[in-house]
């Protein structure tokens, strides 16, 4: 009797020791994070393959057979709120705009940059339709809503600097996207900085765009970028899961880059509540293949570096950031190779010219 209980006890002990190493191969749940919400706070983003994956349920499909639960977290508080969730250890894989990503990394978040997720999102400055404002200078001293701590703030700061202005020349009020748009329609603010979703307000006749990076020859260096990350901890524990997620995202980026899917792509994004027409206008004359390229080429690295220096100049970032050590391109390269997409997107040099 005694030997039996002892044997059972030892077997139980052995199981308890071994079990965690089994579990380490696959997580029970993958916690994904997105800094975008759609109209009315719905958990739907737009503009990149990460958002597409959420709308289409691609990761749910990928991990269904393993019984892994996919948990989506969309943050109305955008990048700043997402960073807090990462610091609390609540997210595994997520995407963020340039400024919050840089701020999070320099603040000590242990993240790895896996691939680009939208290289160039246009920035808009809108005023009420009957406003006499015609240019940035007309807005000096007036109330301008900007979602601070997000990519919009950095892009707006770059535009100010280019025009010899700074945030201090305006009454810069921190408002999230929904609040800023609402405040513009009630004329509580004189202008709002925004991404393409503002075009839906223009369509409805309650806003007028006075400035956009769209037509700026230096649009790419002014515009917002998005990056996909995983935490160092998750990458170390589940490298195969990270690879599978990157595979899905790269495949989706290739679909989104194809010009014959253009209409389908904008219809997909319209599920966020911003209408089809807004995305169509935002992307007019712009090749999705350039915008959706997931590559971490020299050009992309230069864009990230530029964002870091600009954020430092604007005093949005303290200390420095080792950009090179932040990238983990091996998953992306595997995905490109395994899907035969090696030469699909053309890598560019630091100045944005095609490499020969």
């Amino acid at each position: 009797m005694i030997s039996l209980t002892r044997r059972l006890f030892l077997a139980g002990l052995a199981l308890a020791v071994v079990a965690p190493s089994f579990a380490a191969d696959l997580p029970k749940v993958i916690r994904l994070g997105s800094p975008l919400v759609g109209t009315g706070n719905r958990p739907v983003g737009a503009g990149n393959s990460f958002a597409n994956a959420q709308i289409k349920g691609l990761l749910e499909q990928e991990f269904q057979k393993d019984g892994i639960k996919i948990e989506w977290n969309n943050f109305r508080g955008a990048g700043p709120a997402l960073n807090e969730a990462v610091a609390n250890g609540l997210l595994d894989v997520f995407w963020e705009g340039d400024l919050p990503a840089i701020i999070g990394k320099s603040g000590g978040l242990k993240t790895k940059l896996l691939l680009a997720n939208g290289r160039s999102s246009n920035l808009y400055l809108a005023v009420p339709p009957d406003s006499p404002v015609k240019s940035l200078d007309d807005l000096k001293g007036k109330k301008v809503a900007v979602f601070k701590g997000t990519a919009v703030q950095l892009a707006a700061g770059k535009v100010y600097a280019k025009h010899g202005l700074s945030e201090r020349d305006f009454k810069s009020i921190n408002m999230d996207t929904a609040t800023g748009n609402a405040a513009l329609t009630t004329k509580d603010v004189d202008a709002v900085w925004s991404s393409s979703n503002i075009l839906s307000l223009e369509d409805r006749g309650v806003a007028r765009v006075v400035y956009s990076t769209r037509k700026d020859p230096q649009a790419q260096s002014l515009n917002m970028q998005g990056y996909v990350f995983t935490t160092e901890e998750f990458e170390k524990k589940y490298p195969e899961v990270v690879q599978r997620i990157v595979n899905v995202l790269v495949k989706e980026a290739a679909w989104a880059s194809d010009d014959k899917n253009r209409n389908a792509l904008f219809q997909l994004w319209a599920k966020s509540g911003t209408p089809f027409s807004a995305f169509k206008r935002d992307a007019e004359g712009i090749s999705q293949k350039e915008v959706q390229s997931p590559l971490l080429d020299e050009y992309f690295v230069a864009l990230v570096r530029n964002s870091v220096t600009e954020a430092q100049k604007l005093k949005l970032l303290r200390g420095n950031l080792d950009v090179q050590g932040w990238f983990e391109p091996k998953y992306l390269n595997n995905a490109l190779k395994s899907q035969g997409l090696d030469n699909y997107w053309k890598p560019l040099d630091a100045k944005g010219n095609a490499k020969l």
């Binding site: 700043p80 960073n83 610091a87 000590g108 978040l109 109330k143 601070k148 701590g149 921190n174 509580d188």
Partner: protein, 273 residues
């Protein structure tokens, strides 16, 4: 029992010095808790029980406090916040005094106003913000209005109670001397109700400070509450905590300052009774 006082008297401290000593020891006691918390905080930060991005160590908070000070940001934002408090406090206490005195003196006014006033005062300051935004927008007038509302309630209620508690005999004497209403208020009611009024004003001032921070968190482009929001947006929790320290210290200084002033102004009263 008697040995303790004897040993103290054996020191033969002059009473003034002894007074200072007790004040000093009381001050030290008050510091024990914050010091203990500070040590615990340092320990948590050192052991990284909470991620340092979320709870920066005290030294880092001190650094960013010093930086705020030396860059002049602290002074400019604090100045803006204090100006808002000043205006809101002035408007709120004037309205509160008027209302409180009227309700205290006349049971009829009280019957008309008090229930409504109570209902209004029970809606917290933050609950008024959406409505106020619709009326006055999000600029300075919003802050002043919200602060004024926060100040008015305790000032009015304390003024009313203070007047209600003036002994009836005082009024009888005033009537005997055929004092006019204004003279009764000035010479009899206000002096007798002064401690309660002062109490209301003090409560109003600390309410004003808290309301200010709340409203600056919501819609602002400058001020000490805004600094806190900004710190959070830029993932600089040390800045958030530094502004918390400033808010706490300024609130304490305001409260203690008014208490000192009150004690100073009421000294005549102690000798009068």
């Amino acid at each position: 029992m008697t040995s303790i006082p004897r040993s103290v008297s054996a020191l033969r401290l002059p009473p003034v010095l002894a007074g200072y000593l007790t004040a000093l020891s009381r001050g030290l006691l008050a510091l024990l808790l914050p010091l203990g918390l500070l040590l615990l905080w340092q320990l948590i930060a050192e052991q990284q029980w909470i991620s340092p991005q979320l709870l920066p160590p005290p030294t880092q908070v001190l650094d960013s406090l010093l930086e705020l000070y030396s860059s002049g940001e602290l002074a400019s934002n604090l100045g803006i916040s204090l100006a808002r408090v000043l205006w809101g406090f002035a408007a709120g206490s004037a309205a509160g005094l008027l209302l409180g005195v009227a309700m205290g003196l006349s049971p009829r006014v009280e019957a008309y106003l008090l229930p409504t006033f109570k209902a209004i005062s029970l809606v917290p300051v933050i609950g008024w913000v959406p409505l106020f935004i619709l009326f006055v927008g999000i600029e300075e007038s919003l802050k002043v209005l919200v602060i004024a509302k926060a100040v008015m309630v305790p000032v009015a209620i304390n003024a009313m109670k203070g007047i209600r508690n003036v002994p009836v005999g005082f009024f009888e004497v005033a009537r005997l001397y055929r004092f006019s209403l204004w003279r009764t208020v000035r010479k009899v009611v206000l002096p007798a109700a002064l401690p309660s009024l002062a109490n209301g004003l003090r409560l109003g001032l600390s309410n004003a400070w808290m309301a200010l921070v709340a409203v600056e968190l919501l819609a602002s482009s400058e001020g000490i509450g805004y600094l806190m929001v900004y710190g959070r947006q830029l993932f600089q929790l040390d800045l958030v905590m530094a502004t918390m320290v400033v808010i706490g210290v300024v609130g304490l200084v305001l409260d203690q300052g008014l208490q000192l002033l009150e004690r100073h102004l009421l000294t005549w009263r102690n000798s009068a009774y």
